[in-house]
Assembly symmetry: C2
Homo-oligomer: 327 residues x 2
Amino acid sequence: MRAMSLTEFGGPDAFALSEYETPKAGAGEVLVRVHATSINPLDYQVRRGDYPDLVPLPAITGHDVSGVVEAVGSGVSAFKPGDAVWYTPQIFGGHGSYAEYHVASEAIVGHKPAGLTHLEAASLSLVGGTVWEALFTRAGLRLGETVLVHGAAGGVGHVAVQAAKASGAFVVATASGYDADFVRSLGADVVIDYRTEDYVAVVNRETGGVGVDVVLDTIGGDTLERSPRVLAQLGRIVSIVDIPNPQNLIEAWGCNASYHFVFTRQNRGKLDELATLVDRGLLKPHVGAVYPLAGIPDAHALLERPRNGVRGKIGIAVVDENASSQP
Amino acid sequence: MRAMSLTEFGGPDAFALSEYETPKAGAGEVLVRVHATSINPLDYQVRRGDYPDLVPLPAITGHDVSGVVEAVGSGVSAFKPGDAVWYTPQIFGGHGSYAEYHVASEAIVGHKPAGLTHLEAASLSLVGGTVWEALFTRAGLRLGETVLVHGAAGGVGHVAVQAAKASGAFVVATASGYDADFVRSLGADVVIDYRTEDYVAVVNRETGGVGVDVVLDTIGGDTLERSPRVLAQLGRIVSIVDIPNPQNLIEAWGCNASYHFVFTRQNRGKLDELATLVDRGLLKPHVGAVYPLAGIPDAHALLERPRNGVRGKIGIAVVDENASSQP
């Protein structure tokens, strides 16, 4: 099979399209023909060498699969050949999804929502799990609360807006003005153009000075320091972007804030819940650009570019490599 | 009545023993003869001027009352004259407890645990509420988890050790070697002498490298930065000490840490739960030093002194002013 192999840690050119032996499904495993995968910030963090000890080279990386079961190993009961499936491959263990075939334990695999294309499903598995973990498991977002989503047009952000709205939250979102209509179409009640408006001032105006209950930070920068200025008492911040420089948190005590730091964990559990939201029309991933398997280096370069103009996710069409579109 | 009045923001000498008119109980209020109060770090923060806008001068401060109901206002049903009561006066509103009499809404008053002296009860109301808020409401400490209590011999710490132990946690505590036996007597399973041992190394040794589920920081310093090195996955840190200098939190993401910042909130709700723990013999405040009402400046000076040798709380005997003892 063909796979995009990471041969060294570095820039997008560190990838090389290579021939690998097609893997086989062992006991309890499924062999999946990968129809689509997608690109996440975790992918370029791995590629540039943020986790060298966890990623022996050469490596097939990639963290989203949507595809069709080709074969099953002994003891597999929940899936059969021909089933459409989606999942996040085991993180930091075994091969990733930048390949024509992938083998996974059936325990981490879900039935693909029928209403999504493979590209859409592959654009939701990892970010959907992250959003669930961030907003609900960690921050405990509840009906009627107000949430501020930073980077609402991005891969995680655009799913977070929809999930927060579906849960009964009032959603305030930051995005570039260019993306305001897109973010509003996802369900955001207030969209703040971070290029021209001060989000602290807008949030305080929109909430009558009360502040928001939850901040989801997909951006980094000074959000950890500034968030207490927009947080209600007992407000929660969830950050999925690690920040290497020190943060002044002195304002966090005054509002009894909680900071939740989220780093991707294996989280099979939420695929079915996400599928239910999709089935009910409450959640739909947006694929803002598509590349073929061979275009992964270009896709990485695009995702790493600030203000790249991509809405939602960058998908990789593994099966139909002609199906590509760039912004 | 006599009261200790804060006449200006500053050092312990900013207090002056003064005559005030004895207050009266209005509708829904109780007038309490204060038998004892105690000293908290919040008290010297108020005194030195950390919250000037919230404390109009001159002010009677103080955040713990144990005493006897002298009179009740109209509509009061839960209390009658002669009842022994304890509570935390409304924080940043009305008079505090450094006085011979105090008036409070019956809504914030509890029946004093019979097994505690007034000095003991007055040493538990605020710190007990803080511990409950920190360990259970915010950090969600659960049966079977492991908790690290920093400053375990102090006012909050010595109650936290007992409450954590009572809840079924394995308790690791830091204290000076001088206090090790005291902290062990409170229920700590492991006591680390912070003067001679590196707590990161000890915790990792004691937990087989897994780490603790909850860290309670009553100390400040570099605990926020270092805690990820002792935290298990999804571990929680609760800090009750605001820290003005920036913190490097880069290690917090890797262990999916949550940081809970706690600043005193009015919290009537836990007096009865604390009383139940006292009644069952699971919790007993320790009064390490006692001063008369006129000795509050000395008590403040003592509490502010690092490594002051006081175990537990510094109590103020308002009624029996001869009952004083200093370390």
